[in-house]
Symmetry: C2
Subunit: 159 residues, 2 copies
DNA sequence: TATTGTTATACTCTATAACTATA
DNA sequence: TATAGTTATAGAGTATAACAATA
């Protein structure tokens, strides 16, 4: 502690008490930055969804079904949640006319959920509202964004 | 419906730069990569929390109180949720001995929540379990991580 | 017998509104 | 009167277990 002993500890974020044996300060800072981005991204996503009277989960399912109609089971695996949860989420989307359930001719146990035209329009507006794309990334030049893209790709194990 | 110019329903909170809402492919890809990271980060976080029988919200509050004791109100603003929610979350943490409520001598309306020693130990184990720090970032060299750190900083508007 | 989707149940998170005890 | 924390309430997401229809 450099300063006088009276003040409260009040550690600023670059001053970390204990280091995990495995992580150096640089890695820790990157992780913290990513944590901040995660928080901000989520906040913006929920906010954009709420502006369309959707919850985050509803918005995610709607986006998913915009890409492609999907059996209930597949939605669950894609969202990594139990199939029983999907029933309620699709129920709510369906009651608002954003999604519909169709029978699968090949297997009568299966119900395929698909976005309606109105659902696709809502999903489109929602994506446009997500200006996380513009605001923070605008601070970077095109070259820097390219570097960032390549680093993130490698981080995620993509070629 | 693609809106266009007539009576544009006032553009959310910040006015956009001259960028069109339709961003270029490079930016779109970066945003998608960030989305993937957000999903993976969240998944790991919830999983690590669950391994200690904590929900994500409980883990976040516990981590927050590990840094510094905080009045209930401050926890709510930090989590960006209503104060009434904090009551339940701290209740559950307190009933497990991970957190305690202390009176504030200066203002008897205030209750200050603080992590107990056991709470700090749990938070420490939880952080170590979060190997999002190690696994994906290990693919990058130190120099690359430095570049990544600087780009993320600038993205977040930090100097 | 196994699988798909659903229902029933219980828990947590969340926001809103009303209440209490201080200030 | 205003503020800090709580309680009450209702809606939503989540996991588990049990169920009907179908394979």
């Amino acid at each position: 502690m450099a300063s006088s002993s009276t003040g409260s500890p009040d550690r600023s974020r670059t001053d970390r008490p204990t280091h995990s044996p495995r992580t150096d300060p640089l890695t820790l800072e990157v992780v913290e930055l990513i944590g901040t981005i995660v928080a901000r991204y989520h906040e913006e996503y929920e906010q954009a969804a709420a502006q369309h009277s959707l919850t985050g989960a509803q918005a995610r399912v709607l986006r998913l079904l915009t890409l492609q109609p999907l059996p209930m089971r597949r939605i669950a695996t894609s969202l990594r949640c139990e199939p029983s949860n999907v029933t309620g989420i699709v129920d709510r989307l369906e009651s608002r006319g954003l999604v519909e359930r169709r029978p699968d001719p090949a297997d009568r146990r299966v119900k395929v959920a698909a976005a309606t035209e109105e659902g696709r329009a809502t999903a489109r507006r929602l994506r446009d509202a997500l200006d996380f794309a513009n605001e923070p990334l605008a601070a970077l030049s095109e070259e820097e964004r390219t570097v960032l893209r390549d680093l993130l790709r490698r981080m995620l194990g993509e070629p």
